[in-house]
Symmetry: C2
Subunit: 362 residues, 2 copies
């Protein structure tokens, strides 16, 4: 435990991702010796050779998770095994070394346990966890990875949007394309995100907060900012459907919240749950029929993000269901938050054991 604790701030002042906790997990790898012992260290600067591949070739991928404190004071994670599985898939796509997901989760649990006093206890607040792996290979040729590092960083966070559960507007971006078949849209690599910052600025210029990314001449819908997207619509036959882009073409991140919403919608069976390729024209036609009922984004940071408008070619389209507690997205949010904070007993919520052995090499 560090003897120099870092400064804290009041929960209300927490933004998203600005405050780091006292400790971080660091695990180094090299091609000759494999993974070194995991270390939990005081949080501080990461010093790398200036040739390190992460600075030049974006050989990096990450995860996003959250830790919550329940009413008994226990710390809980939400479906963390899904994050570990996806982290391994991302690392493989980026030619980064594989690791044991269960062992890494044990290390993360120990880190969370050590810094659990940092987790804000109010509803809507939590501690965001950021596992990241990158290549530290110290030469300038674009080669297979020879050295790498996993870091896990902790960050107490307030509601993703300070104003709380407030709808945002999207703007369809058909100029900057986030992902395409054969690319990396289905993994959480850094290179999927940096090039989208320019699109955020364009969205703001259109009076929206985030871009709705599409691709191909059919303008297939992919993601909304850094979130997956769902539409609750009535189709042309009048059948109520919750639709979201399919994972099949490799452009969509298989979000943990996305998967949870799909599973809940299937269980609740209030409508058909459909994963498919969605040309934006299909959504536009549904808007024009008055058949777009609800829209929302999903992601670890925001959980569920209401969307109350989409700007397309200068025109704004709006869902028809007025915002109240009976909406599907509100009930999904309440259920997910209930599970995350342990108010609802559910296998998706994973209680972190108070002490975990972690000093063994991975």
């Amino acid at each position: 435990m560090t003897g120099r604790p870092l400064p804290r701030c009041a929960d209300e002042e927490l933004g998203f991702g600005t405050v780091i906790t006292d400790h971080m997990l660091k695990i180094e790898w090299n091609v000759e010796r494999g993974w070194n012992h995991p270390m939990i260290l005081p949080s501080g600067p990461v010093g790398l050779h200036p040739f390190a591949h992460v600075f030049h070739y974006a050989v990096e991928c990450y995860e996003g998770m959250k830790a919550y404190v329940d009413n008994n004071g226990s710390v809980r994670l939400f479906r963390p095994e899904m994050n570990m599985q996806r982290f391994r898939v991302s690392a493989k796509r980026m030619s980064l070394p594989d690791f044991d997901g269960e062992q890494l989760l044990k290390c993360i649990e120990t880190l969370v346990d050590i810094d659990k006093d940092w987790i804000p206890k109010q509803r809507g607040y939590s501690m965001y966890l950021r596992p990241v792996i990158f290549s530290t290979t110290p030469w300038l040729g674009l080669t297979q990875c020879a050295e790498a590092m996993i870091l896990v960083l902790c960050c107490p966070v307030g509601p993703y949007f300070k104003s709380g559960f407030v709808p945002i507007k999207l703007s369809v971006d058909s100029k900057y394309i986030r992902a395409w078949p054969g690319g990396t849209g289905n993994v959480k690599s850094g290179g999927n995100y940096g090039p989208t910052v320019i699109s955020q600025a364009a969205a703001t210029a259109n009076g929206a907060s985030q871009s709705l990314f599409v691709y191909d001449k059919h303008e297939y819908v992919t993601e909304a900012g850094t979130m997956n997207i769902f539409f609750l619509i009535r189709n042309e036959q009048g059948v109520k459907q919750l639709i979201t882009p399919s994972l099949k073409d490799g452009t969509i991140l298989p979000g943990v919240t996305r998967q949870s919403v799909i599973e809940l919608s299937q269980q609740w069976n209030e409508c058909e749950t459909v994963e498919k390729m969605i040309p934006f024209a299909e959504i536009k036609a549904a808007f024009e029929r008055g058949d777009v009922l609800e829209i929302f984004g999903t992601g670890t940071a925001a959980v569920i993000q209401p969307i109350n408008g989409i700007v397309y070619e200068g025109k704004e389209y709006k869902p028809v269901v007025p915002f109240d507690d009976s909406m599907l997205q509100v009930r999904l949010t309440n259920f997910l938050i209930g599970v995350q904070y342990g108010d609802i007993d559910h296998p998706w919520s994973h209680v972190v054991p108070p002490s975990t052995t972690w000093s063994k090499p991975m």
Copy 2:
């Protein structure tokens, strides 16, 4: 000047990109104060906040240049203003701060002058220069850049392929797609490169050294590994053409060597010089007619890389012109190397003045 010079090795032991020289240039930026004073420092680890955007979101782009020593002992760069211009375009696409390219070039000249003893003098050897800019913004939200850093690193290098001017084989990769319209293929961002490492491994498995990237169902040819690509063919009308993918669709890096080859080919006027979209089927048909005369890649590291075979769907296709000094690619190489080392007097070669003022803020 550093009091602790770094270890050197014999020219013959130099690979590509493993040895760093004594000094590096570092210039920091933040959104409130703009660019800070450029600093030339002893080369050493770069320490960043673990939240720095470069580790997570690949907000980074780079350049590649080379410094040569001529027969008078002067240091020369090759068309460096083109690198500065492209570096600014890349930074803009990645929402990184703009800078004055002429001032940066002056800083680079000073750095090169300070470390000029590191430049190997043998033909085929040079000092590779790596300007890189990345976001050091220290929070986890994917936001506009608030803090950034330019580094310029120097690295004495031998011939890119140790065996010298030896042809390599490519393997067409239609599974992993390097770039697509609306993406970042036309800028030198890190995220274009990391995801291609997996494809290199596939190329090796096919008995090739590098992948030939294509995209779309038409399998438009884009790039070969980290190089632009040229084909010298006879078209269906029997007209000799030097063809290379066009910059129009935004998937192709506007390489400095690429542009130089195009200009030389136009001046020499031995064949038509054509930039266009190239479906691989067109190349395959030319192979089948015996009309593919020469193939080569271009890039700063390799200058011109002969290619003597392309593997496509399990079959290898070969150009028909036997390898000798009369080949277009050999004459292009000799000319370019002659200019780069100052043996041929040409405006593309830029002599670095021995002392440059650089201590002013950018």
